[in-house]
Each structure stands twice: as structure tokens, then as C-alpha cells.
């Protein structure tokens, strides 16, 4: 099947999303740096505040990207303006997915990499890298699930529910990781060891996230028209 996509307009729409939200995203990165500052102190109280703040910032980045580029655009009826431009539903879907991923992944990656750097360069146990990546994997998966729902469902209530529910699940997820001995013990040591359980969980998070995005692109792209 030949995909006849309007790449120049898709690129413009992605840049548009980036331009619209770059200031707020910079503020989130700033929040992430503050959180990492606490983490870097390597004190129990600072670690608690820093890790909590870090999770809050990452969750906020995920929710902000989805709610501003999709839910608020839909509510404020700016999506109608975008859809009137020469784009097909597939062009629009790809532009929205790419724009959304860009606005989420850039601050997410910056904060994520900075977190690893802080763990590796401070007295914090290096084994925490595995634990941190699994937490970020959960946020990434929750973001993909929320984005998928936001692309299909117009109901603000359902979208808010999915966003909150998927992100709040990080709490039981942390408890679950604490129950898995191979992950719990690594987090306390200096060696970064990827146990079978850790690899399995991270792989599942990434594959499931990718599958959700692929499904969203396919599902929206197959529509002949927007309405």
C-alpha cells in the first residue's frame, strides 16, 4: 500500500505544536532539575522529596503534552482550524502523534538522562539506574495509553480518568518492583545488573507502548474523513 502523505504540512504542524508548548516544557525541565538537585544530595529526606518531585514532574509532562495538544485544542476548537488545512486524517494523526511525542519525549528524555547522570555521579547506589528506568518505562507506557485514548475518545471525563488512573498506577507498580527480589536487591547495590525480570518488564513496557501508538496511527489513519 502506498502512503500518500503530505509531509511538508505534517512537518509544519509538528513544529507548530513544539512552538506552542516549548515555554511550558522548559518550565517542566526546570522543575526536573530542582528534583534532581534534591536527589543529588544523597540524604534520605532529600532522596524522598527529590524522587517524589521527579515522578510528579514526569507525570505532569505526560499529562500536559496530551491535554494541551489534544484535549484543550479540541475544547477551544482550534482543531477545526488545523483540520481545515490541506491534511488527510492520516496526515493529521501522524502530525498529532509526532508533535505530541516530541513535546513529551524531549523533556522526558532530558530529565531521564539527567536522572541517570545524577545517580551515577553521586553517592546514590548505581543499581538505582534499573529501578529508575523501570519507573520511567511505566510513565512512558501510561503516556502512550493516555495518548491512545485521547486520540480516539472526545469525552473529557474519560480522558481525565485514563490519565489519572494510568499515572496513579505507578504507586502499586513501585510496590510490585519492591516485591521482586532481583530488582529490589540491585537497587541497593553499586552494580547495574539487568535481571531477567527487569528486562522482561522494560521490554513489555516499550513493546506495549509502541503497539498502542501503532494501533492509534492505524485506527485513525484508516478513516476516510474526520467526522
Amino acid at each position: 500500500m502506498k502512503l500518500d502523505l503530505n509531509w511538508p504540512t505534517i512537518r509544519l504542524l509538528v513544529v507548530k505544536d513544539w512552538q506552542l508548548f516549548q515555554k511550558q516544557l522548559a518550565a517542566y525541565v526546570l522543575g526536573g532539575i530542582v528534583a534532581l538537585g534534591f536527589l543529588g544530595l544523597a540524604k534520605p529526606w532529600a532522596f524522598y522529596i527529590g524522587s517524589l518531585l521527579l515522578i510528579i514532574v514526569q507525570v505532569a509532562v505526560a499529562c500536559f503534552a496530551i491535554s494541551t495538544s489534544l484535549l484543550i485544542e479540541r475544547k477551544e476548537q482550534t482543531l477545526a482550524f488545523v483540520m481545515s488545512l490541506p491534511v488527510s486524517p492520516l496526515d493529521f494523526t501522524i502530525a498529532k502523534l509526532a508533535g505530541n511525542l516530541l513535546t513529551f519525549l524531549v523533556p522526558f528524555a532530558v530529565i531521564g538522562l539527567a536522572t541517570l547522570l545524577v545517580i551515577l555521579s553521586t553517592p546514590l547506589p548505581d543499581g538505582l539506574v534499573v529501578f529508575a528506568l523501570l519507573l520511567f518505562g511505566h510513565i512512558l507506557l501510561a503516556y502512550c495509553a493516555s495518548l491512545t485514548v485521547a486520540m480516539q475518545v472526545e469525552s473529557e471525563g474519560w480522558n481525565t480518568f485514563v490519565m489519572i488512573a494510568s499515572m496513579v498506577l505507578i504507586n502499586p507498580f513501585i510496590m510490585l518492583l519492591g516485591q521482586i527480589e532481583s530488582i529490589r536487591e540491585v537497587g541497593r547495590g553499586e552494580a547495574i545488573v539487568w535481571s531477567g525480570d527487569a528486562v522482561l518488564i522494560l521490554s513489555a513496557q516499550l513493546l506495549l507502548g509502541l503497539a498502542l501508538l501503532a494501533f492509534t496511527a492505524w485506527w485513525n489513519g484508516r478513516k476516510p474523513a474526520f467526522y
Binding site: L20, S84, P86, V87
Partner: protein, 294 residues
């Protein structure tokens, strides 16, 4: 005759609303006013014509392209603005112009500048600070300056104050001087339609009640005041769209005026007092109440 758009037997069903078996043509260079009450189906029709919505049945061709398959090509040649379309509140008009200019190579910068002056808009002001009238004018500027072959406007003057409305109508009238540019605009304001349109379509509850040249519309309809007794035979006249009586006074609204009608009424025992042309609004309301073709 080249057609700007053509619909053949188009239907679109939603749970609460259906557009049924709609056929309509708009020749190139013509201005058609689409008149209907809120919820009549005007916006649905315009969404179908931009390819934003797909018809359940029937055929739609716009600027020679079949919809919705060629919606990207159609949207390159169409300027579409609707009442429910908003610009980004936090961004300036300049930012929007830059976005649209990069998408449409036909963007006419000098025309955009002249519209900006005429509409008294500030390019460096965020849209959030614009009044409703300014937002509508900004949206129209973004549509008009791309020099579209076909303009589709959904309620372009709704909610505007009289001055803003006059400015918008004047700009549209100027655009329409280009004989190859076609316009379909919807409104429930029949005065706007009467002022601008070459042809008029009435739409009600998802059905096209009538479509004809404006002059024919206005020429075909008359309001006749008579004195006398209305007979059942009179009610059956096919030319009559409405008959109302109060005592001995009878008001007739005629949908197909013929010069011999006053004489026929006299033969039927009525005393014709006066015959007046009808305004478009009156014609529309009568057509809707009659529930049939004008």
C-alpha cells in the same frame, strides 16, 4: 459550464440528525447563500464539502475532485471558515499568517496587508486579546489572502456588531468581483444572503427545500391582501404557499407568481387590495412553514 461543486443524492446520518438525498450544484464564479435555521444541516453540508466529513451515500465533487478521497487537493483550493473554528489564543495573528503562508504557496502578502488595514487588526497582538468580531475577521483574512478558488463560509457574520458585519460583507463583495471565484456561505441572516448571493438554497431539517437564482426567488413570490371569503378551492391552488384569514381579510402568499393571478382571484369572488413583493426572510419562513418546495 464549469462547476465549483456538485452534490448528487448525498446523505449523511448522525444519531440525532440526518441530511437526506441532497443534490446541489454551484457554477464557477457564483455566490450561493445557504439559508436555514440553527440545526438545519448547513454546517454538516459544509463539512461534507470540505472533506472533513464523509457522506454515507451519494457523490460529492469539489473543484473537479471527488470527496472525501481527494480532500487534500480540495482543501488546497478551498478557503473554509466556520463559526466554531478558533485560532490559537496565545499566538499572534502574525504567527498564524506565517503558518498559513508556508502551507499555501498562493498566499498574497500585499492583499493580506490590505485586509489587515481594512479590518483594523494588529498583527502583533495575541488572538486572545481580540474581540469576537476581530477573531472572525482574522479568520477571514487567513482564508481570503490565500486566494482560494472556492470560499466556504459557515455563518461568517454571526455574532458580529453592525460595523464589523458591514466590513466583512464589503470584503466578501470585493472578493466576489473575481468572476472565477465561487462562494458558498451559510447564514440564518437572510439580509446578508439577499445582499451578496446570486443564488439561494433553503435547507431545513436536513433537506433542501429550494434552490434558485435570487432574482427568480424574489420575482416568484408575492404577498396579496384581499377582502372576501376564502373558499376550499382557493386553498387548493398550487401557486399558493400560505393562506391566512382574519374575518373577511385574507392574506395570500404566492410561490409562483403569474400576472393573471389578481384576475383569477377576482373571478373567485375576492377583492384584491394590494400585491407586494416579499423579502427573502418572509419567503424563507413561508417555505419552511409550508414544508415544501419554494
Amino acid at each position: 459550464m464549469t462547476l465549483a461543486l456538485e452534490l448528487k443524492g448525498v446523505s449523511k446520518h448522525y444519531p440525532q440528525f440526518s441530511l437526506s438525498d441532497l443534490s446541489l450544484t454551484l457554477p464557477e464564479g457564483q455566490i450561493m447563500g445557504l439559508v436555514g435555521v440553527n440545526g438545519a444541516g448547513k454546517s454538516t453540508l459544509l463539512r461534507l464539502l470540505t472533506g472533513l466529513a464523509a457522506a454515507d451515500s451519494g457523490q460529492i465533487e469539489v473543484l473537479g475532485h471527488r470527496l472525501p478521497a481527494a480532500q487534500v487537493a480540495v482543501k488546497r483550493g478551498v478557503g473554509f471558515a466556520s463559526e466554531d473554528m478558533r485560532l490559537y489564543r496565545g499566538q499572534t495573528l502574525d504567527w498564524h499568517i506565517e503558518l498559513v503562508r508556508r502551507i499555501y504557496p498562493e498566499w498574497d502578502a500585499s492583499y493580506a496587508a490590505s485586509l489587515m488595514r481594512r479590518f483594523d487588526l494588529r498583527a502583533d497582538q495575541p488572538i486572545g486579546g481580540f474581540s469576537h468580531g476581530q477573531r472572525v475577521k482574522a479568520l477571514l483574512l487567513l482564508c481570503l489572502a490565500r486566494r482560494p478558488k472556492l470560499l466556504l463560509l459557515d455563518e461568517p457574520t454571526t455574532g458580529l456588531d453592525p460595523v464589523a458585519r458591514a466590513e466583512v460583507l464589503e470584503s466578501l463583495a470585493e472578493v466576489l468581483r473575481d468572476e472565477r471565484r465561487s462562494v458558498l456561505f451559510s447564514s440564518h441572516n437572510t439580509h446578508d444572503v439577499e445582499q451578496l448571493a446570486d443564488s439561494i438554497a433553503f435547507i431545513h431539517r436536513g433537506r433542501l427545500l429550494a434552490c434558485a437564482d435570487k432574482e427568480r426567488f424574489l420575482g416568484d413570490w408575492r404577498r396579496i391582501l384581499c377582502m372576501g371569503e376564502a373558499t376550499p378551492e382557493l386553498s387548493a391552488w398550487p401557486e399558493l404557499a400560505q393562506l391566512r384569514s382574519a374575518g373577511r381579510q385574507i392574506e395570500l402568499k404566492v410561490r409562483r407568481w403569474q400576472d393573471d393571478i389578481p384576475a383569477r382571484l377576482t373571478q373567485a369572488g375576492l377583492d384584491v387590495q394590494r400585491v407586494d413583493p416579499m423579502a427573502l426572510e418572509d419567503i424563507f419562513v413561508t417555505t419552511v412553514r409550508a414544508g415544501g418546495a419554494a
